[in-house]
């Protein structure tokens, strides 16, 4: 049995979601009847996946139908056709006036503190000149643009606080056992993904002052040590990690092992 009819209905569901058209344009009963008709003959995995896709799209439409009713019964609801007509008739000045009368602007200021200036200067000092950086070097991210805070991951249920704390404890224990060690040797592992994970956790150890860094810009070396060992100057730094750099580290590790 060819699934054209069902595919057309799935596409129609997607159009409703995308174009915000009336979700009641879809006849749910007929859709389910069509699905039922196909399901009797379908056996292959692809066919069953299509069936699951159709059910998923149908549930989204039913959800939209509920929202549609809720919206129409709320005080917000005004016939879109009427509003469209009014918008077409009004002069720009009248529209602007309506906006200003319903506008309560946000009040916020930017500030530049001495601490933030110092962080900027440290970042500048740690950054290689543009022509010395790899072409693939990603654009510097500021703290505001960085992807996820740990709290975001916890809120999104990707990670639990206990899980994160245990991972931190484990890596700190490892560092304490090693003592002062080269930063990249510490974070790099046989898998690149694991290296990124270790670098991420290590950044928390450093931020929470459980570990410290010794940076020698002339020798281009970075050493990490458990913070119990010694205390130094507190400042913000950026250490780049790239896949290429990790591959280089792997090659050097292999050479060292072969040398032995």
């Amino acid at each position: 049995m060819r699934p054209e009819k069902l595919l057309r209905q799935i596409n129609f569901c997607k159009t409703i979601q995308k174009e915000s058209t009336n979700p009641f344009d879809l006849n749910v009963k007929k859709f389910i009847e069509t699905l039922n008709q196909y399901l009797k003959t379908w056996k292959s995995r692809d066919e069953l996946l299509l069936d699951a896709d159709a059910i998923s799209e149908l549930t989204k439409i039913i959800e939209l139908q509920a929202k549609w009713i809720q919206d129409r019964s709320s005080s917000f609801y005004i016939d879109p056709v009427l509003i469209e007509l009014k918008l077409k008739l009004l002069e720009p000045e009248q529209l602007a006036d309506a906006f200003f009368q319903s506008w309560h602007p946000v009040i916020a200021l930017d500030r530049l503190t001495p601490k933030r200036l110092k962080q900027g200067l440290d970042y500048w000092n740690a950054l290689l000149p543009f022509n010395e950086r790899d072409d693939d070097f990603p654009a510097a991210l500021t703290a505001e643009e960085s992807a996820f805070e740990i709290q975001d991951l916890i809120d999104m249920s990707i990670l639990s606080r206990a899980e994160f704390d245990n991972a931190l404890k484990a890596i700190l224990k490892e560092l304490e056992a090693l003592g002062r060690t080269e930063y990249h040797d510490f974070i790099y592992s046989t898998e690149f993904e694991e290296s990124i994970r270790r670098a991420y956790l290590t950044s928390y150890l450093v931020s929470e002052a459980k570990a410290g860094l010794d940076i020698d810009p002339l020798e281009d070396t970075v050493f990490i040590y458990p913070s119990g060992a010694r205390a130094g100057e507190v400042r913000s730094i950026a250490i780049g990690i790239s896949h290429e750099d990790w591959l280089g580290w792997k090659r050097s590790q292999k050479r060292e092992q072969n040398g032995k």
Binding site: K18, E19, S20, K67, W68, D71, S75, F76, I78, D79, P80, L82, I83, E84, K86, L87, K88, L90, P92, E93, Q94, L95, A96, D97, A98, F99, F100, Q101, S102, W103, H104, P105, V106, I107, A108, L109, D110, R111, E144, E145, Q151, D155
Partner: protein, 171 residues
């Protein structure tokens, strides 16, 4: 003892005011969990005290619901309507924004970018419309995903949507 507790409460209100007035992130305001972390578990009470002070200046702390209480964003907005010009934007740009918001609100808060463009192009040149829409997205008044426009965080914070629709209908 009482003075100590009063001083502590004042410190909390000051800290909350600093957090809310000064931008910490790209989007102004702070999340509930940030306030809880900095001000304490009683941050909602602290916000209420701050609100009573701000009210005298015609401002208020607005809570933008994001689902969970600790994820809600708190933001300071002007409570009263502006009597003087408070934006450098041109009148036609504000008109386009006003029309776009009204159009999107009546379409359940989500509509394809193409249909908004077509709607605005009836009154403004296409290059101006495209430029304006990009600017509203950048400013946070609109959001865009997969060529679908929706109401942005800034509209939710700043615009009384019901009043806007009522004013348009009664104009």
């Amino acid at each position: 003892m009482e003075e100590e507790s009063k001083a502590r409460a004042e410190r909390k209100v000051k800290r909350a005011a600093q957090l809310l007035f000064f931008r910490q992130h790209r989007i102004p305001g702070v999340k509930g969990w940030e306030l809880k972390k900095t001000v304490g578990d009683d941050y909602i009470d602290v916000i209420e005290v701050l609100n009573s002070s701000l009210e005298k200046l015609g401002m208020e702390v607005k809570r933008l619901t994001e689902g969970k209480e600790r994820s809600d964003r708190y933001i300071i907005v002007l409570k009263d309507n502006l009597t003087e010009k408070a934006s450098g934007a041109r009148i036609d740009e504000i008109a386009m924004l006003s029309a776009t918001l009204a159009y999107i609100i009546t379409k359940q808060g989500k509509v394809s970018r193409k249909s908004v463009e077509e709607f605005l192009c009836a009154k403004f040149p296409k290059h101006r419309v495209l430029f304006a829409l990009d600017r509203y997205i950048k400013q946070g008044y609109l959001g865009e995903e997969d060529k679908v426009l929706f109401i942005g965080w800034r509209t939710r914070a700043e615009v009384d949507r019901k009043t806007l629709l009522d004013l348009i209908l009664s104009a």
